[in-house]
């Protein structure tokens, strides 16, 4: 009895230490979200007065910033544009990077390793260098000032990253599984679709999430290729209409960031285990 109690106490103490150690990290991670949340609901005078306690409401909360966001800007259209662009880019990345990653990892192609590294290197070329030549491509395709331009452009960085990520993941799938499938009568494609792909879901999912979030983060390409207010994605639309010269609409800015950022954070959370599995899939190979 006494031993069980001691064990429970030990366990409790251990948890206490663990949570005490985690607390600063949680605070650092959560504080910006908390700050966004209260700023989005604060009245402007509450934001600007230095004699107020900044961490809580000193005046009654307000929905005014969200009214500005939804009724005086194209925020609704920006969200739809962003999600649609991200979905298209994720799809294009998936359709391209999965076979590319598989081919480079499994088909024993000559110089596959170097090709893989080269593909990844293209991901490292900064957009500030690429946006000028790409603007010619976009103009030639007649896509200037339409969000479709971004569906064409974003895969230039999501495909190399996805390919490289999936290469690492496909290498972790035991060769024997694929060989067994081929012994059972599958061709390359059949073995890939029936055996390799199902066990690679965490890697594929990670590539999709990355493609999705990388598309949502871009600013420069969106700025360079899409100017009409109703065609912009969130990262370009928000600063355009909510930062006017040196006047910042802090409440609406924070509200805009919160509404886009929170669902993505929740989405990440749902797939966290698979995401970690996908990210670490190629480690050690």
């Amino acid at each position: 009895m006494a031993t069980a109690q001691t064990l429970r106490q030990k366990e409790r103490r251990r948890h206490l230490w663990i949570y005490a150690g985690l607390t600063p990290f949680v605070f650092i991670a959560v504080f910006p979200i908390y700050w966004m949340l209260i700023t989005a609901f604060k009245q402007d005078p509450d934001l600007y007065r230095m004699d107020n306690i900044p961490f809580w409401f000193n005046l009654a909360p307000t929905l005014r910033h969200f009214k500005i966001l939804f009724f005086q800007t194209n925020y609704g259209a920006w969200i739809v544009n962003t999600m649609t662009i991200a979905a298209w880019v994720a799809l294009i990345t998936l359709v391209t990077a999965v076979p590319a990653g598989y081919a480079l990892a499994r088909l024993r192609l000559p110089a596959a390793e170097n090709i893989g590294i080269s593909v990844f290197m293209t991901y490292l070329v900064p957009p500030i260098i690429l946006f000028l030549p790409l603007s010619r491509v976009v103009a030639m395709l007649g896509l200037q000032d339409e969000w479709w331009a971004l569906v064409v452009v974003y895969p230039t960085f999501t495909i190399p990253f996805g390919t490289w990520l999936l290469m690492g993941f496909f290498k972790t799938v035991p060769m024997e599984m694929e060989e067994a499938a081929r012994v059972d009568g599958c061709g390359y494609l059949g073995a890939f679709l029936r055996v390799v792909l199902p066990v690679s879901v965490p890697g594929v999912l990670t590539a999709v999430i990355f493609a999705f979030t990388l598309s949502m983060q871009d600013f420069l390409y969106g700025l360079a290729f899409v100017a009409p207010g109703d065609q912009k994605p969130v990262p370009v639309g928000v600063p355009t209409e909510l930062i006017r010269g040196d006047v910042y609409y802090w409440g609406s800015l924070m509200g805009a960031a919160l509404l886009v950022g929170l669902p993505v954070a929740v989405l990440y959370n749902f797939f966290l285990d698979r995401f970690i599995q996908g990210i670490t899939g190629g480690v050690g190979k």
């Binding site: 005086q72 103009a139 100017a227 010269g245 006047v247």
Partner: protein, 445 residues
């Protein structure tokens, strides 16, 4: 002069191509003048589309007026469909580069902060006819306007308005402490020195932002300093006046500011004033308007003063310029020119919509009382600013190397280095080195 495209040597003889170009320009010019005189657009622009790219104005109501009234009414009147797109003003150069590379994009493009007329002029439409006609109609341009848009004797942009950065101060704090209004930089320094210990310091950005570029130039030029000579060929930064301005900035920081100014951005001084802390700021009237909208108690004691004078009584206010240009690749240059003319003619309406932000480059439009600021007792003083307005490069032109100096924040960095404790002579050496390096690079190009 350096450009993206190198100039080709022109033939000395008057050949067929030159004849056609001259004749074409003559016909276009005379038709524009006829059109302006008739106040009606020619039939050939009917049914066309005009695309305009500009910033998001400080005042949302100005954009509403511009997008929904000005362009719509003009478009309906002339049978032109007008589309206006907005992007943040600091991002306009990136978008301009993309459109230049693509050879396609908007017909009219605005520049604010970074005025790139001289960088792109070979790819821009010649707007000399519009510029001259507007000057003739509205009493001439202020002297400093020309340098923003002129290249090789022609005009490639229309300066529509500029934004002042006046002295904005807390009269209640000044009165309570027996301080004189900050009519000189020395009085401003005394006020900051007196009020900082009482919890009311001042602040000017010692950082890399647009306001720092503008404010420290106002100090420098008011102290008698200069950036370029009128030819644009000679750098004039290395002077006794610059050294005096740097020493003044160091004293102002030590006595009247706190270290947060090293991390300030363009909006920080707005917040400083609106929060009730600052005793004065030197900023666009956005600071005044932000205070009006967020802190009525502070606002009722917030006043705007004349640009502070330097030691010899000189006053120079370095302003944020705005210029509109037309791409040469635009297929609708005629409509673009007609619209720019209309923009100039409706300036006063625009100034009202902007709540007094937009200041005119044209003398005839700067007559008292000006819209909004002419009827507001606290803002009336702004009407006296046009004669002391300057832009980057003052008293020289706003040429491409100066634009790079501005973009690299060389001058604010000089002031920051001194405020952080480097010796004035070391900073002068570094600053002159940067100016010379940038100018030499452009000369080589």
């Amino acid at each position: 002069m350096t450009d993206l495209q190198q100039a080709k040597p022109s033939p000395s003889t008057f050949n067929r191509r030159k004849f056609l170009a001259t004749a074409g320009a003559g016909v276009a010019g005379s038709s524009l003048l006829t059109m302006l005189d008739a106040k009606q657009a020619p039939a050939q622009i009917k049914g066309t589309t005009l695309r305009i790219l500009q910033w998001s104005h400080f005042i949302p109501a100005y954009d509403t007026w511009f997008d929904s009234k000005l362009t719509k009414e003009w478009g309906d009147q002339n049978g032109v469909k007008v589309r206006v797109d907005h992007i943040p003003h600091l991002e306009l150069p990136a978008r301009m580069a993309a459109e230049y590379a693509a050879g396609a994009g908007h017909d009219i493009i605005m520049n604010g902060s970074s005025i790139l007329t001289r960088l792109y002029y070979k790819s821009l439409a010649d707007l000399t006819d519009v510029y001259d006609a507007a000057g003739k109609k509205h009493g001439g341009w202020i002297p400093t306007a020309k340098a923003l848009v002129e290249a090789e004797g022609r005009y490639y942009g229309i300066p529509l308005f500029y934004i002042l950065l006046p002295m904005t101060y807390r009269k209640d704090l000044f009165d309570a402490n027996g301080l004189k209004a900050p009519d000189t930089w020395e009085l401003a320094r005394v006020a900051a020195r007196t009020l900082k210990p009482k919890g009311h310091p001042t602040g000017i950005q010692f950082s890399q932002c647009a306001d720092a570029n503008l404010n420290w130039r106002s100090v420098l030029f008011s102290f008698g300093g200069a950036e370029l000579d009128p030819s644009g060929e000679n750098i004039l930064i290395d002077s006794k006046e610059t050294r005096e301005a740097l020493k003044f900035a160091k004293a102002l920081y030590d006595e009247g500011m706190t270290a947060e100014v090293f991390s300030w951005d363009d909006a920080s001084d707005n917040r400083y004033l609106a929060s009730g802390i600052a005793c004065w700021v030197h900023d666009a009237i956005s600071a005044y308007r932000t205070t009006e909208d967020t802190n009525p108690d502070v606002f009722k004691n917030t006043f705007i003063g004349m640009e502070p004078a330097g030691p010899n009584g000189k006053r120079v206010n370095t302003c944020a310029a705005n210029v509109w240009m037309v791409w040469k690749f635009s297929k609708n240059q005629q409509a673009a020119k007609e619209f720019l003319t209309h923009m100039v003619d409706t300036f006063s309406e625009g100034m009202t919509s902007s709540r007094g932000y937009n200041m005119p480059y044209l003398n005839g439009l700067a007559k008292k009382p000006m819209p909004v600021i002419g009827t507001d007792p606290k803002l009336q003083i702004l009407q006296d600013f046009p004669p002391i307005v300057a832009f980057y490069g003052y008293p020289g032109p706003f040429i491409t190397p100066i634009q790079e100096v501005v973009n690299l924040f060389v001058l604010p960095d000089m002031f920051t280095r001194v405020a952080r404790g480097q010796s004035v002579e070391d900073v002068m050496k570094w600053g002159m080195g940067e100016y010379r390096r940038i100018f030499a690079k452009h000369k080589r190009a």
